[in-house]
Symmetry: C2
């Protein structure tokens, strides 16, 4: 199991990505693991700086995540939201009472001028997380979803409109000029394995790759670059990936995703349910591992993480 001692970089978005990140966290020495997280979902709401994917990863690694939703804090209550509703404020974006402490501290520290990665590291440290969790960039990147009903900021598309509008395109405002922090750059430079967690490729992985230095570093990396397909049996495990792929004209299969990420991948992990796609993936030039990719509990997360690392040998 020598791979368990190599420098691992995992790229992750929300719920699905956080699960594999947690698996890696269970099996890799924390000082060897860096999780780089999508921040395209970030937004400001009632004056608070909110980072949904970072929070999901943090809460998952800290063992605080709500097991039902995958996001938010377990055993959450919603009294502040009720008071906000009483004030007549919109309630489409729910902030739990416990979750609020994270938003409040992050907002305070960012306003004080602390770098985003330092703020994130401090939140993680205080939750007892021992590996590095890093926002993909220091400056804001904002995912905008072009729909049949006009362009929508990500959270309005995703939460307020529940992914109902038909997606025509996606852009990442600020990505072109976004600067990753030094720890992000260093982690990718020294990565001995790069793992694309099973997050939404269009909404969670693309924003990371839209930051030019990140794409350049990842493309240039000589490390094995292994993705885990978020599409299993023609469906997304969670979220709107399959719907978006259909709307954007992509094949809803592990091959459809692999084609989309082709220039940054060397290998691809698919579920037993998709074994029939192996030949197509080989034709794309990708090494393929077929295994059980659905993670129903902590043990299955650790097991998949181990298999992916073994496969990288």
């Amino acid at each position: 199991m020598t791979n368990l001692n190599r420098n691992i970089v995992a790229l992750a978005g929300g719920v699905g990505g956080a699960k594999l990140a947690h698996g890696l966290y269970q099996v890799v020495p924390p000082e060897k693991l860096t999780i780089i997280v999508n921040t395209g979902d970030d937004f400001e709401h009632v004056g608070l700086s909110i980072s949904p994917d970072l929070d999901t990863v943090m809460y998952t690694l800290a063992g605080l995540a709500n097991p039902q939703t995958g996001w938010g804090v377990r055993g959450e209550s919603w009294h502040m939201m009720a008071a906000l509703a009483r004030y007549g404020e919109p309630t489409w974006f729910q902030m739990g009472d416990r979750d609020l402490a994270t938003h409040i501290l992050r907002t305070q520290w960012l306003r004080e001028g602390q770098p985003y990665q330092v703020v994130t590291a401090e939140l993680c440290r205080r939750l007892g997380i021992q590996c590095a969790v890093l926002p993909m960039s220091e400056s804001p990147v904002r995912t905008m979803v072009q729909t049949a009903e006009g362009e929508l900021p990500f959270q309005e598309y995703f939460v307020q409109q529940r992914c109902q509008p038909v997606v025509k395109g996606i852009r990442f405002v600020g990505a072109e000029s976004a600067k990753p922090s030094r720890p992000v750059v260093t982690a990718i430079r020294h990565a001995e394995i790069i793992i694309f967690c099973p997050s939404n490729p269009w909404l969670s992985i693309d924003p990371i790759l839209a930051v030019p230095p990140l794409r350049r570093l990842i493309v240039a990396s000589q490390a094995p670059k292994i993705g885990v397909s978020p599409i299993v049996g023609g469906q997304a495990i969670k979220g709107p990936a399959a719907k978006i792929m259909a709307e954007l004209g992509a094949e809803i299969s592990p091959v459809g995703v692999a084609r989309h990420l082709r220039d940054v991948l060397t290998a691809w992990v698919i579920d037993y349910a998709d074994e029939s796609y192996q030949a197509d993936l080989t034709q794309l030039g990708l090494r393929t591992l077929v295994t059980q990719t659905i993670m129903k509990n902590d043990e299955e997360r650790a097991r998949l993480a181990r298999e992916v690392l073994e496969f990288a040998k």
Copy 2:
């Protein structure tokens, strides 16, 4: 009851003042009532703009106040605080989950650059409050308490140190240059009765009078200027007024308070328990009403408000 139709200005701080303000709110047409509130207690905490006395007055008028404490929201929960404690943040200043909605909205709107009085009016409007509730000044005034252990910002003295340090003096940083808003100035100019609610004279009334245009306007006003003594039977109904008076060498009696506020008063309302002080107050040149000044419920607040207004004739 013609006085019930005159322009009333009430000056108030926290709990005691809010009770009489609520009494006035019950008996005066809302368009005739302006409550000017101490903001010397305001502070920033975990990046939120907090206005304790305004909140107490708002919650009291809206019928939301916690009847046990007098401050905060009834039926409050503390889950955000528990999460903040988990992050290792200090918890000496408690913010309830429902109360947080107020801090979050105020902070957001102030940061957007809206005037303090507009922000306050909007919060009040949304809580269904129909009279004018105004912060005493637009720019920050910060009460600093000089103690045997050094100078402390108000909340550190009041909440964190529970008023334990011996008070040697009090100053109101920013008061000299503070600007009251136009509605505050207009209300005092047109006031036909000015009422000093039974708030702590040193900590709640003095900061209002420390704003030079406010003191000038109040001294110049030809309206009856009636105070209700917050000291009854040698004690403060609530809070550290008696302790502070002792430490500052003032007589702990309605006379001691009346002397302190002498230049802005024309009349003084004392409790039956303090009837013996009437002669001393007359000697100070103050008209005096003796009545029951302790307000145990909504009806007693309204009754005292009516008596004060009748007395002003």
